[in-house]
């Protein structure tokens, strides 16, 4: 890549960014050789936690770009569109390699897992805080407490696995590690993961970017755990990954159900490309590592071209004018990885006992006695629950639980002394349900 391909640097370090007004790298000049794709890694011992988070996030964004392109290609007969999809998809594939191969082989699976959950907590928190729609905000707040608990369960597992590091060395002092909504209670009937979709026509544009971002991140988390969860030898580790992997699929259903299902294929593609531009711009704005910032900048220049191609095709085939869809002045705020400790504590204090009933979020105590939640819980939790077992085992082996609390005691009394579920509203409701059955 030549210096003129990174011409965006000066013009994009500013408050607003309109990718439609920029010139990207022509697609024919985007393909790289193997050493360009796999040469660099970060140092797992001294990488900034949020640099790791950006790498994990953008890998997920590229995976979604590729999966979306493949799905579109399977449903489109137009050869010209398929060729455009294939061309851009090849570049996205290379981008995915360049990003994901920044993660060194020396970073263990469990350490990388801690990174994934830090992404989930601090990405979803930022998105929730920047979500203008009250219903969609609630969707994000519901999910974040579950990923927060996953971080805590995996951190306890990491402590038992003989890793040379503790989870807080991965997360820094940026994200607390405390029980959230206990994972045992995340297991819901599939119908209760389906939310009310927004409409592209009536939604704030930020809502669309938010949803595409979080769907991609959760999908990649689901992919990761469903593929690497069988790598540990310890049965409890394998079981915990299995349990949490199932929840991550639920999260994909939960977040993808807020997307507008009637979005035409080429508009969907253009929205994806715009989202990638926003996120690479965001990464560039906030990245302290100069070498990795260059990757973000280069990829941004590529995505600008991908967006142009998608918009051109959308206008030609579907007669949808990008100016009718995308904000005239672009986007003004970068997605920023930053601490959300007080925000998450507030969500914990307000909404710990919520569960889902179709598209609504209700206190678990308000569920009818015959609700499908209880039957599903009884089925999957019969015989022991890995996310509870990992805490018990940590207590047995070390005399306590692994937590990192920098802002005071746990905001919820039922989880202050113990991360197992006995004192939570959920457990009490389930006990009453059993007694009344």
């Amino acid at each position: 890549m030549s210096p003129e391909d990174t011409h965006l640097q000066d013009r994009t370090f500013r408050m607003a960014f309109n990718p439609l007004a920029e010139k990207g790298i022509p697609i024919e000049r985007q393909f790289r050789n193997w050493s360009e794709l796999t040469g660099h890694t970060y140092n797992t011992n001294d990488v900034h936690p949020y640099t790791r988070c950006r790498v994990i996030l953008m890998n997920g964004i590229e995976v979604e770009a590729i999966v979306n392109s493949h799905n579109a290609a399977r449903r489109i007969a137009d050869t010209g569109i398929k060729q455009m999809l294939a061309l851009v998809r090849k570049a996205e594939q290379q981008q995915q390699k360049a990003v994901n191969w920044l993660i060194p082989g020396s970073e263990s699976t469990i350490a990388n897992t801690i990174g994934y959950e830090q992404v989930a907590v601090d990405l979803t928190s930022w998105i929730a805080r920047h979500e203008p729609d009250p219903y969609l905000n609630q969707v994000y707040e519901f999910g974040v407490l579950e990923d927060y608990d996953h971080l805590y369960r995996y951190a306890n597992l990491m402590d038992l696995m003989g890793e040379r590091r503790k989870a807080e060395e991965i997360t820094g002092d940026l994200t607390e590690i405390l029980p959230g909504r206990p994972t045992i209670f995340h297991h819901r009937h599939p119908h209760d993961e389906l939310r009310r979709p927004m409409t592209v026509e009536a939604s704030n544009f930020q809502s669309i970017l938010n949803a595409l971002t979080v769907v991609s991140a959760e999908q990649q988390t689901m992919n990761y755990y469903m593929n690497v969860g069988n790598r540990p030898e310890d049965p409890m580790a394998r079981a915990l990954y299995c349990e949490i992997a199932m929840v991550e699929e639920q999260h994909v259903s939960h977040y993808e159900s807020i997307l507008d299902p009637t979005t035409p294929e080429l508009l969907n593609l253009a929205l994806h490309e715009y989202n990638e531009c926003w996120l690479y711009w965001s990464c560039m704005q906030t990245e302290p590592d100069p070498r990795i910032r260059q990757v973000w900048e280069l990829h941004l220049a590529m995505e600008i071209e991908h967006l142009r191609l998608a918009c051109e095709m959308m206008k030609e085939v579907d007669r949808i004018d990008p100016e009718e869809i995308f904000p005239r002045d672009g986007v003004s705020e970068p997605m920023t990885f930053e601490p959300n400790k007080r925000y998450v504590r507030d969500v914990l204090a307000r909404t710990l006992d919520l569960t889902a009933y179709d598209s609504e979020f209700v206190p678990v105590g308000d569920l009818p006695d015959d609700h499908r939640f209880f039957g599903y819980q009884n089925t999957v939790n019969a015989g022991g629950v890995p996310s509870e077992e990992v805490i018990r085992r940590h207590r047995e082996e070390t005399g306590g639980e692994y937590r990192v609390a920098t802002e005071g005691e746990h905001p919820n009394a039922s989880l202050r002394e113990s991360g197992t579920c006995e004192e939570t509203p959920y457990a009490k409701v389930e006990q009453e349900h059993l007694e009344n059955a």
């Binding site: 203008p132 729609d133 009250p134 219903y135 969609l136 609630q138 119908h191 939310r195 009310r196 979709p197 927004m198 409409t199 026509e201 009536a202 939604s203 704030n204 507008d260 009637t262 009933y357 179709d358 598209s359 609504e360």
Partner: protein, 182 residues
């Protein structure tokens, strides 16, 4: 029951059924006009439709002795609870701000239908329930398909688009069930 009582009972049932049919026609007219275009009317009609379906189905679960009818009623409770929830969620989004909250009680027309259902003798309950279901679902199909095409709220058009195929399948099922019970 004496012969006269039976005759009066038969006349009452006939009038109840006629009342349901007329009510159904009025309902379809409303669903096809204001309910198909105006968001506030759509919300009211959709909410009341769900309330009626759930109440009628609960009655059916208590009184019907036919497995097929009970299975249909169970599905009505589940599906119309889902549509109730989606309506509530839709009304919490920015794009529907300002619309009135959905009613929490049925209108007089649907209350009367429930009264007719309660008054149906045991051996006529299933037929009464399924006849009402066909009428009610024709009205809901008109409402949902109409608003999907002509409604003045994108979010509620989306809701109608998601619900229309479900209630169309309900109607088809109830029509087949009515034919089997006949």
């Amino acid at each position: 029951m004496t012969g006269n009582d039976e005759k009066h009972e038969g006349v009452r049932r006939t009038m109840d059924k006629a009342g349901d049919v007329v009510g159904g026609m009025v309902g379809r007219m409303t669903a096809s006009t204001a309910g198909s275009t105006r968001a506030d009317e759509f919300v009211k009609s959709a909410a009341i439709g769900d309330l009626y379906e759930i109440a009628a189905a609960r009655l059916a679960l208590r009184r019907s002795r036919t497995d097929e009818v009970r299975a249909a009623a169970t599905k009505m409770i589940a599906d119309h609870t889902t549509s109730t929830h989606h309506l509530r969620s839709a009304l919490r989004m920015n794009s529907t701000r300002g619309l009135p909250a959905p009613p929490l009680e049925m209108d007089e027309r649907r209350k009367t239908m429930i009264d007719h259902l309660k008054a149906a003798p045991d051996d006529k309950f299933d037929k009464t329930y399924v006849d009402q279901q066909v009428l009610a679902h024709k009205e809901t199909v008109d409402l949902m398909t109409g608003f999907r095409e002509h409604g003045d709220s994108p979010q509620l058009r989306s809701l109608a688009a998601g619900t229309a195929p479900v209630v169309q399948r309900h109607l088809a099922h109830m029509e087949r069930l009515r034919a089997r019970l006949a």
